[in-house]
């Protein structure tokens, strides 16, 4: 009886197990040598060790990090003074869609305080945080969508489990989306579509990733034997099945580290991408240092207001991100390449790290928000998904998406006051900046007449990015949107541009417009 019930459950879960979600274990080379069970731990401790031993020279580092921006700042300032191409992106006969607010749990290095949680626990924390922050009545919420990448098999629709646990009405449907690192972007744009088409008025979108624990499966042979066993009726059948058991059946199957189509890990691809754009190790380290320094500054100045404290059961309350570690170039230079050995340029220090975290935003139709008495933070405007060659252009999504979304919105690079790009690797960001600044690339690979131009660095990820704040795959998108919205509120700009790359060679960009004060 017990066996057959198990098999029924297996059958239900089966479809979701079939396709291994692609994931990016930035630091897998470190972990491959150790046993699979304790790899996250090992990885993290190694990383922690690295950073702990780097002297914190943030002051100096910060000044240094500014150096790359100096080149054309005058020109950029002049451009910024120009008036916007468009007063607003509101379109006639289309509902305006607003973000009232958004929150996230602190993003932690995986294997730290969240390590004993399950993904829906973390998502629940973000959802509860949003409820608390916005005081939205639970029964007003029409729909809930969360993004995630590595699915915990027990909670494959993690959105529903988290919503129920967070106290949302059990009458509010919820679904989970996955699109690698742009999963929560997909959650938000799905929400936008639902509202724009008049299906919903109030939607919660978010995302979660818990890299401290990932589903490690039995091997296919072992699974087959177990499934066959559950169907075997006689003792003889069972024994004959068991007699086929071999020791190698026990070797576990890790979630795919590599791109399914190309069998290449993302870090490896990033290293090749950096080489293709002739980006040196020093440049990558400098950019990583900039990210950490800016994140530390933003944290110190209390700018990361989307973070909500999380009382972890059995542990202390977590109040802030723990991956921000400004170091020195000398220390960073000592690290060995993590992917292409021994001469590659991508290292642990200039890559984003495995992160646990969850995020959530409250998206409403503007008239509904106003009717409910909210003061929204921003409009969500045009968005764009792109995809390209998953081998050689795996991480160039932002390059492709940026000009398209600007064109669609009728804006230019100069109109954007806040750029929030997802930083998977220093090399990836720098390659995208170079690609956006290359007429040759635009003409030969993007079918465009001219380059779109690269964003001015003084408007670019100035509160830190995924390299320093962390990158829980399924949750990063909402962080990017909230960072853009909060920056526009704080600095008084009008338009923000959010862009990200994702496994599978996909990419996303979205325009965020500040809600007028």
């Amino acid at each position: 009886m017990g066996v057959s019930r198990t098999s029924a459950i297996w059958a239900v879960i089966w479809p979701s197990l079939r396709g291994d979600p692609e994931i990016i274990w930035s630091f897998i080379p470190f972990t491959l040598s150790v046993k699979p069970m304790d790899q996250d731990l090992r990885m993290t401790s190694l990383l922690t060790y690295t950073f702990k031993n780097l002297p914190s020279t943030s002051q100096w580092a910060l000044r240094f990090s500014m150096r790359p921006l100096s080149c054309s700042s005058q020109l950029r300032v002049a451009a910024a003074v120009q008036t916007k191409s468009k007063q607003t992106l509101a379109k006639p006969n289309i509902r305006n869609i607003v973000v009232v607010d958004g929150v996230r749990t602190p993003f932690l290095l995986s294997g730290t305080s969240y390590k004993d949680l399950m993904p829906h626990d973390l998502a629940r924390a973000a959802l509860s945080g949003l409820l608390h922050r916005t005081s939205v009545p639970k029964d007003v919420v029409d729909y809930i969508i969360l993004g995630t990448v590595i699915q915990e098999v027990k909670t494959s629709n993690v959105a529903r489990e988290a919503a129920l646990g967070a106290g949302f009405s059990d009458k509010t449907p919820a679904h989970t989306v996955t699109m690698a690192c742009i999963s929560s972007n997909q959650a938000m744009t799905t929400a936008v579509s639902l509202i724009a088409s008049g299906q919903c008025d109030v939607v919660v979108a978010g995302g979660v990733e818990l890299m401290s624990d990932v589903p490690i499966r039995h091997s296919r042979k072992m699974r087959k034997m177990m499934l066959d066993l559950s169907k075997a009726k006689t003792l003889g059948q069972r024994l004959s099945l068991i007699s086929k058991f071999r020791l190698n059946f026990l070797s576990p199957e890790l979630p795919a580290v590599a791109e399914f189509s190309t069998n290449e890990t993302m870090g490896h691809s990033a290293d090749r991408l950096a080489a293709a754009f002739a980006i040196s190790r020093l440049e990558q380290d400098e950019y990583a240092l900039r990210s950490h320094s800016l994140a530390r500054k933003a944290q110190d100045e209390g700018l990361l207001s989307d973070v909500v404290p999380f009382k972890v059961p059995g542990k202390d309350t977590v109040t802030q991100d723990n991956g921000i570690r400004p170091s020195s170039l000398e220390q960073m230079a000592k690290l060995k390449p993590a992917f292409i050995k021994p001469y590659g340029t991508v290292t642990a220090a200039n890559s984003s790290f495995l992160t646990d975290g969850a995020s959530a935003v409250l998206i409403l139709a503007e008239e509904k928000a106003l009717a409910m008495g909210y003061k929204p933070k921003a409009y969500l405007r045009d968005f764009m998904y792109v995809s390209q060659d998953p081998k050689d252009q795996l991480l160039l999504g932002p390059t492709y998406a940026t000009p398209k979304v600007l064109e669609k919105a009728g804006l230019t690079m100069n109109d954007i006051d806040a750029f929030e790009f997802h930083e998977a690797f220093s090399g990836q960001i720098l390659a995208n900046l170079k690609a956006m600044d290359s007429d040759w690339f635009a003409q030969n690979y993007m079918g465009r007449k001219a380059k779109v131009g690269s964003p001015p660095l003084e408007k670019f990820n100035i509160w830190g990015g995924s390299l320093s704040l962390g990158h829980p795959f399924g949750a990063t998108g909402c962080r990017l949107v909230m960072a853009a919205a909060n920056r526009l509120q704080k600095e008084g700009g009008q338009y923000g541009l959010v862009a990200a790359c994702a496994a599978g060679g996909q990419g996303h960009a979205m325009i965020v417009e500040a809600y007028p004060k």
Binding site: T262, N263, L273, F277
Partner: protein
Amino acid sequence: MVASRAVGSLSRFTRSRMLRCPGYICRNFTKSSALLTRTHINYGVKGDVAVIRINSPNSKVNTLGQELHSEFIEVMNEVWSSNQIRSAVLISSKPGCFIAGADLNMLTACTTPQEVTQISQEAQKMFEKVEKSTKPIVAAINGSCLGGGLELAISCQYRIATKDKKTVLGSPEVLLGILPGAGGTQRLPKMVGVPAAFDMMLTGRGIRADRAKKMGLVDQLVEPLGPGIKPPEERTIEYLEEVAITFAKGLADKKISPKRDKGLVEKLTSYAMSIPFVRQQIYKKVEEKVRKQTKGLYPAPLKIIDVVKTGIEQGSDAGYLSESQKFGELAMTKESKALMGLYRGQTLCKKNKFGAPQKEVKQLAILGAGLMGAGIAQVSVDKGLQTVLKDATLAALGRGQQQVFKGLNDKVKKKALTSFERDAFFSNLTGQLDYQGFEKADMVIEAVFEDLSLKHKVLKEVEAVIPDHCVFASNTSALPINEIAAISKRPEKVIGMHYFSPVDKMQLLEIITTPKTSKDTTASAVEVGLKQGKVIIVVKDGPGFYTTRCLAPMMSEVIRILQEGVGPKKLDSLTTSFGFPVGAATLVDEVGVDVANHVAENLGKAFGERFAGGSLEVLKQMISKGFLGRKSGKGFYIYQEGVKNKNLNSDIHSILAGLKMPSQPDVSSDEDIQYRLVTRFVNEAVLCLQEGVLATPTEGDIGAVFGLGFPPCLGGPFRFVDLYGAQKTVDRLRKYEAAYGRQFTPCQLLMDHASSPNKKFYQ
């Protein structure tokens, strides 16, 4: 000489053009004066590393010829004498080719073994200097690194290769009937171990970069780059150079050791190889295997074993000497001339001499999902051709689709494809039972059963649905194309494309044109064939075209020999020991007894007495008993799944006994039997050239070797006449003519060649 001067003047032109292009080159080369005096090699100094770039002018590949060799010596001498330079990087500027090997023309121009030996010794000397260089030299390999190119690379202190599909390392000399003559036989065993070195040198197989790394043939791999600031190929070479420079510096600073950590297996192997007894056993084993496989018909592999042995047992001086001498001897053998001729012919038959077709074929449709149809589909989908496979029944179609999938999946198992690539390729295939979508087809290849009325039926059906530009190609082995085209509304679009089974293994494609076939149609067919990776001969229409027509008289002789009392096993061993890859009786089984009978009947009608010989009754009786060959499980032999050694089908004895012919003792020695088969083949081939069915002897040789398994060591029927002698061939034919009559009458062209000894098919 004139040619080389012409090349020189042309290259001067390209050089000046290079100088005019801005920036990059001049910036990198501090010694741009070097550029002005050399055509194949230039070098510049980056820091304290000399970057030596090989770029033979006006050619897609770099080959080691006299000029390149002397320029290389010059450059190396400058590198060694310069105080500024501490290490060097050797790299090619050509995408897809490091050095493709030695210049064959240089070898074929030699008339004595001594000349060739001298070439070898000069190269040996130079490469020894490279090996002993105190300034470390890093070979940066992107693309083919073959023959002399590999020998140069393994003389260097360090090798870095791009992990690209085009990067292949190998010693293919044996395939040309020679041996690695620039120290390769001595260095390779030391580098990768004796067994692996034998494997490389005796099979000539190309080794991909990742495998080369595992074997210790290269020290580092560089991943090819995608698009970035420059086109991928260009930037990949640049990146390879950058990486190579860091390693060159590291080696000069002694921060990197050129020595490689050997794995346990490798250590054990090298330990075992230090025991003389083990070595002797290995030599013996390898030699036995080679003798068995080559039947002693190819001298090169045995000499390679000999030279390697000399080097190991008697020291490298003796080894080098032996290598250069044997190299000289081998280059003068008939076998190497035959093999080099085939190599050249193969290169020629991989070009489209009809020019680019007006419309590129993108949509292909194949009628008939049988062995041939599915085979054609398989070699098309993996080249990116959108292919429709149509059959009349779901079962037949399913079998065909499975064949295509299996073909691709086998490549996955061999790691030549990823499962993802397999799926993507397989998605290019559409299986269907109707003519849906044929209005978009650019070419239709029919591979239905060999029956004229059926072919007419499908031609009519297809012409009703295809667009005007669409080519209709018929895959038939014997039905004349003009008869198929007779009912066509647009005979200029009808052509024959004769594939050989199994399509994915056999390299040849015979394209048949009728007088009405337009040039553009031919160009289209050749283009598709080339895309499918085929070696192509284009012949005129006629019964049996070229290949089937040559095979038929030989098959007729096979039957007669069997009727004369020679057993199938004996016959097989006689033919394979002559150099045919498959024995004559086995070949009948493989082709199919019914097919052989069908062809023999048709061609017998067309050509009459010349194609007579054995009695077709043999085949007919076999068919009536269901002995159709391999496909029915029984022919001359019995075929069983999983049984390797096939047994004779004892029932054949009674058939042959019933149809026994008296043998004629003076033309029935083993040698006579072999020559009866070969001369009938050769005579018919020459007649095809005489009648204009063949355009060139080269195509005749390529067709015979790659389509029919004519002994490669003989180089094809035309090369055979040149090397064996036209007069001797005619003499043989006359002797058999006296015994059997007109079937052996030599054709006019052959007699012309016999009467004027200067006349050769290959000048």
